[in-house]
């Protein structure tokens, strides 16, 4: 299984080389790519200096757009699987194996590393916990499956799943609705327990203002995903072009 580790990073110049180094040490068999979401600091430069290939976005797209760039890269380069690891060092690369496991033996299409599946020392901020709780309630009804950690950025996807998301991705708030979308499109989701370390640096992409707005946005986007017709996964999992063509002209 040819797998790729994508590291979306924004303003992580202080730690990005350490994160790359750790991933490489933990899994020398995996390729790494850093997506620099137009950081104002030297994140891209530091990552290149650490020897990782870097996808430099010319404008800031936010975490969703950055992650999707990684999906497209993996799609074009024919990877079989992909692991997403945050650029701030929150995720322990030693646990990549645990996340890739269910993909490798075909038990799931998407694996989410959950901080809440087992008792760990990790305590998320209150607003974040409310959002997560809200989602897991809604998700349980909508998806018929309990997801304990919808906002986790420590995920693994098989080719079928990431090619699907390279084509259709809810980029503005990519956490919860992505899962609902995937579930509705018929992908098998599974959670595995992981430990979360305090971030080495930087701030969460979820700011205080956003976390008030977040539950509303999240509910709305889930509602929208439910109202929309979910595009079916393609039988053909090749991804010959860089971007999906044939998007209707903006009119």
């Amino acid at each position: 299984m040819k797998a790729l580790v994508i590291i979306p990073a924004y303003g992580e110049a202080a730690v990005i080389d350490r994160v790359i180094e750790e991933v490489r040490r933990a899994r020398p068999d995996l390729d790494v790519v850093v997506v620099d979401d137009c950081s104002p600091d030297a994140t891209g430069m530091r990552a290149r200096a650490a020897g990782a290939p870097v996808l430099s976005l010319p404008v800031n797209l936010g975490i969703g757009g950055a992650v999707q760039t990684g999906f497209k890269y993996a799609a074009v380069r024919n990877y079989d699987a992909l692991v997403q690891v945050d650029g701030d060092g929150q995720h322990d690369p030693a646990e990549i194996g645990r996340i890739l496991g269910p993909l490798a033996d075909g038990r799931a299409d998407v694996v989410i590393g959950s901080r809440f599946l087992e008792k760990t020392g990790y305590r998320a901020p209150l607003t974040r916990r409310v959002g997560i709780l809200l989602f897991s309630g809604i998700a349980h009804r909508v998806m018929g499956q309990r997801i304990t950690d919808s906002t986790s950025g420590f995920r693994a996807l098989n080719r079928r799943a990431f090619v699907y998301l390279a084509r259709n991705y809810p980029v503005d708030f990519p956490d919860a609705e992505t899962l609902v979308l995937l579930k509705r499109a018929g992908f098998r989701l599974i959670e595995v327990p992981v430990n979360m370390r305090p971030r080495l640096s930087g701030r969460s992409s979820t700011t205080t203002l956003k976390s008030f707005y977040y539950p509303f946005k999240q509910m709305l986007s889930i509602l929208v995903v439910l109202m929309r017709q979910v595009p079916p996964p393609m039988e053909e999992h090749s991804f010959p072009q860089l971007s999906p063509r044939g998007r209707p002209p903006v009119r």
Binding site: P53, L61, G65
Partner: protein
């Protein structure tokens, strides 16, 4: 029909000065739209919209009987509120249309940015580190 509106309102013409100001305003709007299209600052699609609006408003201003007729037809109390009603309706429709446009453009912008990132990586590989 029992008129709920004072009869003299319905039969009164708009003051001539107000009519002239309105018509002149419409002509200016029309001309500036033409000029913007000529300089390629405004797409034809939108210019048609603005031309229709300016011509329509000019007609209503010059022919106040028509405006009063519409007012009566709608059962409105005054011609003013009819004008405001349509003006607000038009502006809301336009803003909705523009936000739809912006959403589409944002999506394209995202796709282009992602493609640039992928292509420049590809270029970096082909050319070797600079």
């Amino acid at each position: 029909m029992e008129p709920r509106i004072p009869v003299e309102w319905l039969h009164s013409e708009l003051p001539l000065r107000a009519q002239i100001i309105a018509v002149v305003g419409c002509v200016l709007l029309f001309l500036s739209v033409l000029e913007l299209v000529r300089r390629r600052r405004l797409m034809e699609e939108y210019s048609i919209l603005w031309m229709v609006v300016s011509i329509g408003t000019a007609i209503l201003a010059a022919w106040s009987g028509l405006l009063l007729f519409i007012t009566r037809l709608m059962g409105a109390q005054s011609a003013n509120s009819v004008i405001f009603f349509f003006a607000i309706l038009f502006l809301m429709g336009l803003v909705l249309h523009l936000t739809v446009r912006v959403s589409g453009l944002a999506e394209r912008n995202k796709d282009l940015a992602q493609e640039v990132a992928l292509l420049s990586r590809r270029l970096e590989e082909l050319e070797g580190p600079r």
